[in-house]
């Protein structure tokens, strides 16, 4: 037998051996992904919550629901809607990427375990935290799901003086010299470059000073001291792209791996164009509160004052120092739909070194409704 044949035979034997070992003594995560019984026997409060997390990640809703100690208090549909949303939202199309389990309290018959759920959405990862009460049932631990039932809005008619702009653009057949509708006039009212650990950040605010709605974006070009361009970046989703007349949006543009010491000047390029838009819905930002470090954040509630469901809300917070200069811009997508008149919390993280300099803030909300312009 030559060396090649011997190697092939050895590889075949090793493969068969590994398959047998993996089948007879599978690792817990493999068992979970295979959809078999719970990966870990729920012999501890943490393992009970970990099993529940695995089942949510696999979207094995029925199995997850059946494992709950308090399932008699709500239906399986309630449980699924609590996780995926009652109305279409970012969460509807999200999958659970991973989760973390942390025991908070334990006794012989009950425990409290924190479950942090990291959801992968189309706009990035969002995190939810649930504190689960876990009870011992015989030799097993079972988690109680803290169901958050969606508030029910009483049936009613909400009168809306619907305000909307439509645009007739110049047609392809128009003669040369025929007039087009003017692009909205926008103005950068504040701009500031800031050095951060991961590069340079351009912060600022853009005002729509026109009487028509504008689709806006901002790009910036960093130039060296010899006026040669270093890099050009846009604000992407770090600004509200639809501005109604006299509305102001903050913007944040990141230049990774650039040092402010190398920058001689910054060239800002605001862009605007006419778009059809609606003035509704109006969203109230209530109880805005600046929470100091550690864990600095801006918290508050969004209240949809209109009668239509807002499927995705994007919160932008501008933080100012004592002199009124923009100190930082942060944002957060709310992964739950905003129902009329129902408050939904938001929590915008603030870097700790910046939180100490913040004196005031301003919040705006960009909203998107399925089937609507906003």
């Amino acid at each position: 037998m030559n060396k090649g044949s011997l190697l092939a035979a050895l590889l075949a034997v090793a493969t068969v051996a590994l398959v047998v070992i993996g089948t007879v003594w599978p690792v817990p995560s493999a068992v979970a992904y295979a959809g078999s019984e719970s990966a870990l026997h729920s012999s501890t409060p943490e393992s009970a919550v970990e099993n529940l997390g695995d089942e949510i990640r696999m979207q094995a809703w029925h199995k997850a629901y059946e494992s709950l100690a308090n399932k008699a208090q709500f239906t399986e549909a309630n449980f699924v809607h609590d996780l995926t949303g009652y109305y279409p939202s970012l969460r509807t199309y999200a999958t659970l990427n991973n989760f973390e389990v942390a025991p908070l309290h334990a006794s012989a018959s009950e425990a409290v375990v924190q479950l942090k759920l990291y959801w992968s959405t189309v706009v990035g990862t969002t995190m939810n935290t649930r504190d689960l009460h876990v009870v011992k049932n015989g030799d097993r631990w079972e988690a109680e799901w803290p169901i958050a039932k969606e508030p029910v809005v009483p049936p009613q008619v909400v009168p809306v003086n619907y305000l909307r702009w439509d645009v007739i653009y110049r047609g392809p057949e128009d003669d040369w010299g025929a007039q087009d509708a003017e692009a909205p006039h926008v103005r950068i009212v504040d701009m500031r470059p800031v050095e951060r650990a991961d590069g340079v950040v351009i912060l600022g605010e853009l005002l729509n000073e026109d009487v028509v709605p504008a689709y806006v974006s901002v790009s910036a070009t960093l130039q060296s001291k010899s006026q040669s361009p270093i890099a050009t970046e846009g604000s992407f989703d770090k600004m509200s792209h639809l501005l109604l007349p006299k509305q102001v949006t903050p913007f944040l543009i990141k230049f990774p791996d650039v040092s402010l010491a190398d920058v001689g000047s910054v060239r800002m390029t605001p862009f605007s164009t006419l778009v059809p838009a609606s003035a509704d819905p109006v969203i109230e930002i209530d109880n805005e509160h600046l929470n100091p470090a550690p864990g600095a954040s801006l918290t508050g509630q969004l209240i949809n004052q209109s009668g239509q469901v807002v499927n995705v809300a994007h919160v932008f917070a501008t933080f100012y120092n004592k002199t009124g200069q923009v100190e930082w811009v942060a944002d957060q997508y709310v992964d739950r739909a905003l129902l009329p008149q129902i408050s939904v919390p938001f929590d915008v993280h603030i870097p700790e070194d910046i939180a100490r300099k913040v004196s005031s803030d301003r919040v705006i909300v960009a909203s998107y409704s399925f089937g609507g312009a906003r």
Binding site: L163, Q179, P213, K246, L290, R362, V363
Partner: protein, 289 residues
């Protein structure tokens, strides 16, 4: 035209542009022809020949009897420019040049009015530029008076008369203190072109709100919002209400509807409520504890 004739003809055309071959006595050409007008070319000699007329974007070919006059009907040549005439017989080629010029009567105006929308009360804020063309879309380069007129619905009219040189004329107009959709007309003889210029209100002036308690809620409402010339600020303009209480704050961006902005916010004793629109600040209201 057959391809095998094309190259010699192009060569002939190029050689004819040299001053040494500028004109041949066998061809009697007009010096200029107005675009679209009828014209004739007389030739001398005897026998048959082929007459080519080559110009910008246009080539004519006729079989002619030497010694006779060849007539071209109206509209035969319509592009203004420099033309080359070639008279080819079996043994020789004669050539000459002539110009087709634009008609002097304007038939079309290209009118660029900027901007299509601007604030009221701006001096020289509106510009209008006109290019004058004849019926065949040739630029009319002879001096042509252009009459500009900007009129708004309140009856205010501004007029200017500018003579177009080399086919172009331009002017500036002021936007009026009153908002409205203005008609901007450029006229040359009986031809006119109209553009619409919207004069819109400026920033809100003396923004003012009032508050009324309704249980646990506070009903906030602005007075009709106007600019400093008294024009109503258009609906949809965002007005921001901010309520500050203890160390918390509530904010609502409300669009103007029917000239006013109104909203309900929680009533917190000791709160201070402010109103703003864009960079314009309004009054403040302080709720007693």
């Amino acid at each position: 035209m057959k391809p095998r004739f094309a190259l010699p003809l192009v060569g002939l055309a190029l050689s004819a542009m040299h001053p040494a071959f500028a004109q041949n006595g066998n061809l009697n050409l007009p010096k200029t022809v107005a675009a679209g007008d009828a014209f004739s070319i007389h030739s001398t000699g005897s026998g048959q020949a082929t007459l080519f007329i080559i110009g910008p974007d246009q080539v004519l070919k006729r079989t002619v009897q030497l010694g006779e006059t060849t007539y071209f009907t109206a509209g035969a040549l319509y592009n203004a420019g420099h033309y080359l005439a070639l008279l080819a017989t079996a043994s020789s080629t004669d050539s000459g040049v002539f110009d087709v010029v634009s008609q002097s009567k304007p038939a079309d105006l290209s009118f660029l009015a900027k901007p299509s929308r601007l604030q009221v009360g701006l001096h020289g804020g509106i510009t209008g530029a006109v290019y004058v063309f004849d019926a065949y879309h040739n630029l009319i380069t002879v001096p042509t008076p252009i009459h500009f007129e900007l009129s708004n619905p309140s009856g205010n009219v501004q007029t200017r008369t500018v003579v177009a040189h080399d086919g172009a004329a331009w002017t500036e107009m002021d936007s009026t203190p009153q908002q409205g959709v203005d008609k901007f007309v450029a006229r040359a003889d009986e031809v006119s072109s109209t553009r619409v210029v919207a004069q819109v209100p400026g920033d809100p002036c003396s923004l003012r709100m009032s508050a009324r308690r309704s249980g646990q809620q506070l009903q906030l409402e602005t007075d009709p919002v106007r600019d400093c010339s008294g024009n109503a600020v258009p609906d949809g303009t965002i007005v921001t209400f901010t309520e500050t209480y203890n160390s918390d704050q509530s904010t609502v961006d409300v669009p103007l509807k029917r000239g006013i902005a109104k909203v309900e916010m929680p009533a917190h004793d000791g709160a201070t409520i402010s109103v703003a629109s864009g960079v314009v600040l309004g009054n403040q209201i302080h709720l007693e504890k």
